[in-house]
């Protein structure tokens, strides 16, 4: 138990000084996608639900947060929270309509809904259509603190991300999380134990949508604009890639997955389409050779090494006994 805590403390310490060494906007982008990927892992990794339209929660909340900041004097953190609540309600609506379906049917229904939501945003006037929503102001935090400078805003994003990751950790390691994992492993059995598995999954869907919304709202305030891209299906696909790459159903997998993909995109941006091609190749390699993802494979390796060491410790005395 000590080691993960130590790792978390070191990670936070690194993040605190990171903007002095790296471009803060890239770091903030990574953090937005870390929250987004964590929300997605909550669904696919811990409930076994493949939502193929998670971008609607991300992009939708970006518009709502942006709109609130542009048209009202609402403070920054409330606007992001409202974005999350909007996505949570959208998730409740879509979840009620689709949660009974399983597997590929569920994926297709969520994809259809997300396309529907996408076209609503395309046609609406408040979103700016194809042009996107521009010049979103960063209203004062708590109505008091000016955060328009990126050097300062970085710490706001860091704080929100840490809270979200903690909430994600709490959900996974809660009494509910235990039931949720049981539903993922064997739904009929959970039902035979007196639970309503559909309600368990619906709650996961709403929680995940809310967290995806927070991520989207945060991204709108980082870039100070929101575009249709945020709500489009390639974003839904990208978050799947991040989660798979990091390690499905591992706690820290999506954090690494999001970091790796955003950095790759960043470094390969100059090569145009090569960025996409390399993503495709990476996904293929991961699915074929490293099915457990980055964190999953790392865990398996450490467990293997520890197992061998334990084995060596056990067999040695036995051998010496035999020798006697």
């Amino acid at each position: 138990m000590r080691l993960p805590l130590l790792a978390a403390v070191v990670a936070v310490a690194i993040l605190l000084v990171a903007p002095f060494y790296f471009y803060s906007v890239t770091l903030m982008t990574i953090m937005c996608f870390v929250v987004f990927a964590c929300s997605f892992n909550l669904l696919l990794g811990y409930s076994g639900l493949l939502c193929f339209g998670h971008a609607m929660f991300f992009g939708g909340a970006a518009y709502i947060t942006g709109h609130l900041l542009k048209t009202t004097p609402m403070s920054l953190e409330l606007a992001i929270l409202c974005g999350g609540i909007f996505s949570g309600l959208l998730g409740l609506l879509i979840g009620v309509l689709s949660i009974r379906r399983q597997g590929i049917q569920f994926a297709m229904i969520t994809l259809a809904f997300s396309q529907f939501v996408y076209f609503i945003f395309l046609q609406s006037s408040f979103t700016g259509g194809e042009d996107g929503m521009q010049a979103i102001p960063r209203n004062a935090l708590f109505g008091l603190f000016d955060v328009s400078d990126n050097a300062v805003f970085y710490y706001v994003v860091l704080a929100v991300t840490l809270v979200c990751v903690f909430v994600y950790y709490r959900i996974v390691h809660s009494p509910y999380g235990e039931v949720l994992k049981a539903v993922r492993d064997n739904q009929p059995r959970v039902e035979s134990l007196g639970f309503n598995p559909e309600r368990v999954k619906l709650l996961a869907f709403v929680l995940s949508a809310t967290m995806a919304g927070i991520a989207g709202g945060m991204k709108a305030t980082v870039y100070q604009f929101a575009t249709l891209t945020d709500a489009s299906w390639p974003i839904s696909a990208e978050v799947i890639l991040m989660t798979l790459l990091g390690g499905l159903g591992t706690l820290t997998g999506p954090i690494f997955g999001a970091g790796i993909i955003i950095m790759l995109n960043d470094y390969l941006a100059g090569f145009g389409e090569w960025a996409l091609i390399s993503q495709g190749v990476i996904l293929l390699v991961v699915i074929v050779f490293f099915r457990r993802g980055f964190v999953g494979e790392f865990d398996a390796l450490t467990r293997y090494l520890r197992g061998r060491r334990a084995e060596a410790a056990v067999t040695k005395p036995e051998n010496s006994v035999q020798a006697l």
Binding site: R170, I171, H173, S174, P175, Y176, G177, E178, V179, K181, A182, R184, D185, N186, P188, R189, V190, E191, S192, L193, G194, F195, N196, P197, R199, V200, L203, L207, G249
Partner: protein, 267 residues
Amino acid sequence: MATIAAVAPPGANSAADITDKALVGEGLTKVFGGFAAVKDVNLSVRRGSIHALIGPNGAGKTTCFNLLTKTLTPTRGRILLDGEDISRMRTSDVARRGLVRSFQISAIFPHLTVLENVRVALQSSFGTGYQFWRSLRAVAPLNQRAEELLEQVGIQDNRDSPAAALSYGKKRALEIATTLALEPRVMLLDEPTAGMGHEDIEPITELIKRVAVGRTVLLVEHNLSVVSTLCDRITVLQHGEVLAEGSYQEVSNDQRVVEAYMGGIDE
């Protein structure tokens, strides 16, 4: 036994009936696209007994079992649990009323630890199942009961290993511990020894006998030697209908049963 009788709803048809019969199927019929897999089956399981449902392949055992466990809804007929009509209830509601089933393929949660498997079941009545904001300390009070249940089925040493790592026989034991966590009055077991090697069958039979004390058990089973050592009463199905009912002695001497099994899958 007296306490259970007191719990049974008063004022239904006849008091003796209710206290005596834990689970009743009345005129159960299930039709699949014109084919009646189960036809007008009347079945009553006496409280406190171990009751077996047997029959040659395709006799409708599994369909009948699935009707009683609420996995399927009957086309016609009713199912009464302690006199209460449960024909239209969901599996989860029936489970909360004390009728819990097990599955043929060991129904465990492979990625949870052995203790967690049982704790999930205990959460069902503890009411923490939806509390996503609390830490696992909230369910720590359940650990002691979970450990007792693991001890009861003899797998307490595997407490912290992932359920997937258990041997086949221990998975079965874990499933029974999980079922017991709900304090079921009636347990429905679907081929508890299916796919088991010889060395595993005896301990599981012993285990079922041990946990059946004070409960009612209905099981579907192929292995007739298990049925003969375990069960008080046997219902034989053939072509979706009840062929015979009685003790093992009575049933095994019944000429129709012998004929039904001849050239069949008699073990």
